[in-house]
Symmetry: C2
Subunit: 400 residues, 2 copies
């Protein structure tokens, strides 16, 4: 996680960049901005900053040319000065002077997350930016709806290391449960485009994994902790049903011997201290505990409201196989196979994307709508897909 | 917790003891047995062993005399040899030779919990006892039903340090949700006397509190950890909504600034290691995280099945004010005031008591039924109440 957005600031100086949007959470700042990248279209050019990009381009003789890219970056909230330095170095606070469709007030930046309130004065002081605060839940929902409607191969299931993309019928999208796993977890029942309710949540989220993980393993980064967990064995520390039942199942109530009866339950042993456990095993137990718990509470809420789809987003997941696997297993276990967890390829940027989409409401270019447009013969066609490098390329061909 | 049932074995040698029942869990062994204590009726006589006692007595001239006491003890499962030593020292494995109503086979002992399977050979080898395994969930339910029907002032609510006893109408007891918080957590929908279903559970339970707590604080006992938590401040380590929102509420979705957004979320700070946090604060954050989580999942399950009462039992709670307060607050928060958490004074012995009650099915004395009898004019009267020392005294006057 460290270093994102902070190294190699010389790159991309040739970009015309504009329309910054921020999601300032408890642990991470997520950033989205546009660039006119005619001379700067490859990802290498913004090496070190780019998480993913949407590339909107078309340019044959009888087509109107639209060539822009949406950039996705993250910074640690505790290193907000690096975020400010980056914005300043790219002059993001001034917007795109050449774009006549832009808001006249160049110093207003759409921002969501608690930090949009907490750091408003800092952004004003350091960059002259006025943060235009957009409701956090609205942004998450707008971002998720955009991704689910506009991008092919965005949603997928993940079970036993098998990723299967799910094609969502736009007419059958609502209602669904959106579970955003950031530092904490929000669970939102989404009924329609701007119709939603935060129905639940839990404080046991990404901040718990990283916070407890740091205390227990001395890891230096969230990603290092995730990597460690991949190599660990939770059975060393978790008390399994088989540990209590002498190796047998408790089949009468459907608990196999390998079901975790008590997370960290073996650590009650008097013979071992923290240093006697491998950090890998600790990390794995922690990840299973938290992923399982989120999956269970999400399923119970989906059941409560009769929602057949549960989408998981937020930076906790960040495409990590074991996290997704555990959440999927939890949803599968508690629903007795009736519900499935769905994941989003661009899970971490729902809020920032939603804040970005909010520019539209103020007369900004309809880039979001272009992504969302269904193909229409002789008028325009939209095709978006996820590329191997994680970018989403969307070609919008508008026929004049 | 240490030392229970292991010290001062010389006491009570004069007791005629019988009818041992065991609940051997992942962390604790819970034990129930009878004594004929005519010469040994005060609690002091069994100092060091007694958790609680039911005293069943009457003895005036025109009344049939019944004078027995039910004893409740616990041992750590990791110190099972102390449990075996205790049984041996009191000759519990031989039953009561004088009681003609007893089962003819003296070496069969009712036992539940996973350890009844795991340690069956050990009990056979060391004591010649054959453990008659009784289903764990059946025992929890039988124990809870017994307490709720037989004992006055058994169930209570706990909010803001205020304990209010709840009188349960026997005709309106079912259905209810029983949440047993042991090393792990089982959630059981109880429909009637022998009619129940384990509907949910969570691995984040008492074993997690004690296991993670040991690793993080180096506490030497569960009770010490609970005591520590009482002196701590969770705001030092938990990330609150106000921490993210710069001190303000996120009122639009009903989150006040003091709501925990992310348990242990402040521990992501790079400036602090584990040793920089006070064990008291760590213990408190941990207790809040786990209690909150149990309360939330319990409420979601009660909601799912339309259950208006949730009873919490198991040794995790052990009458600890802050634990009960947090569970109550969680149930209150998530139900928006519509549901209340209920606690049981003898919460830790549901399983052992249920195993004990199982003797009845094999022709044992109807002591359980005597407790449960409603007063009947000129025939018998039953009155049970909880005394200040935690004992339940039940006088059964059977008029001949």
């Amino acid at each position: 996680m460290e270093g994102d957005g902070t190294q190699d600031l010389k790159h991309c100086d040739r970009d015309d960049v504009s329309h910054l949007a921020l999601d300032i959470g408890g642990s991470l700042i997520k950033m989205v901005y546009f660039s006119s990248s005619s001379g700067c279209s490859s990802d290498d050019q913004i090496n070190g900053y780019l998480k993913d990009g949407f590339d909107v381009s078309s340019g044959t003789s009888n087509h109107r040319v639209l060539r822009r890219k949406l950039h996705f970056l993250k910074f640690e909230t505790s290193k907000i000065s690096e975020c400010i330095k980056f914005i300043s170095s790219k002059h993001l606070q001034y917007g795109d002077q050449d774009d006549k469709d832009l808001d006249s007030d160049k110093n207003i930046v759409k921002a969501t997350g608690g930090g949009a309130f907490k750091f408003a004065d800092l952004f004003k002081e350091k960059l002259g930016i006025i943060l235009d605060k957009v409701d956090e839940m609205s942004c998450l929902v707008a971002g998720a709806n955009f991704l689910l409607k506009a991008v092919n191969r965005e949603a997928f299931t993940y079970m036993e290391s098998q990723k299967d993309f799910v094609q969502i019928d736009h007419k059958d999208l609502y209602p669904y449960l959106l579970v955003n796993v950031g530092s904490g977890v929000s669970m939102i029942k989404v009924n329609g485009d701007n119709d939603f309710e935060r129905v639940s949540g839990t404080s046991v989220g990404g901040g718990t994994f990283w916070g407890l993980g740091r205390l227990l393993t001395k890891c230096k980064s969230f990603d290092e902790l995730l990597e460690l967990s991949h190599q660990g064995n939770n059975r060393v520390i978790d008390m399994l049903v088989g540990d209590i039942y002498g190796g047998t199942d408790y089949s009468k109530v459907g608990l196999t011997s390998t079901t975790i009866a008590s997370s960290f339950g073996k650590a009650i042993s008097e013979n071992k201290e923290l240093d006697d456990y491998r950090p890998e095993d600790v990390a794995r137990s922690l990840l299973r505990m938290i992923s399982n718990n989120i999956g269970q509470i999400a399923y119970l809420n989906a059941l409560r409201f009769g929602l057949k789809r549960i989408f998981f987003g937020g930076f906790f997941i960040r495409g990590h196989a074991y996290t997704m696997d555990t959440i999927s297993v939890a949803v599968n276990f508690w629903s007795k196979g009736e519900a499935k967890a769905l994941f989003l390829r661009h899970e971490g940027f729902l809020g920032a994307l939603g804040a970005f989409m909010n520019y539209e409401k103020n007369g900004f270019t309809d880039i979001g709508h272009q992504f969302m447009q269904q193909p229409s013969a002789n008028k325009s066609s939209t095709h978006s897909d996820v590329q191997d490098n994680g970018c989403i390329e969307c070609r919008v061909e508008v026929r004049d």
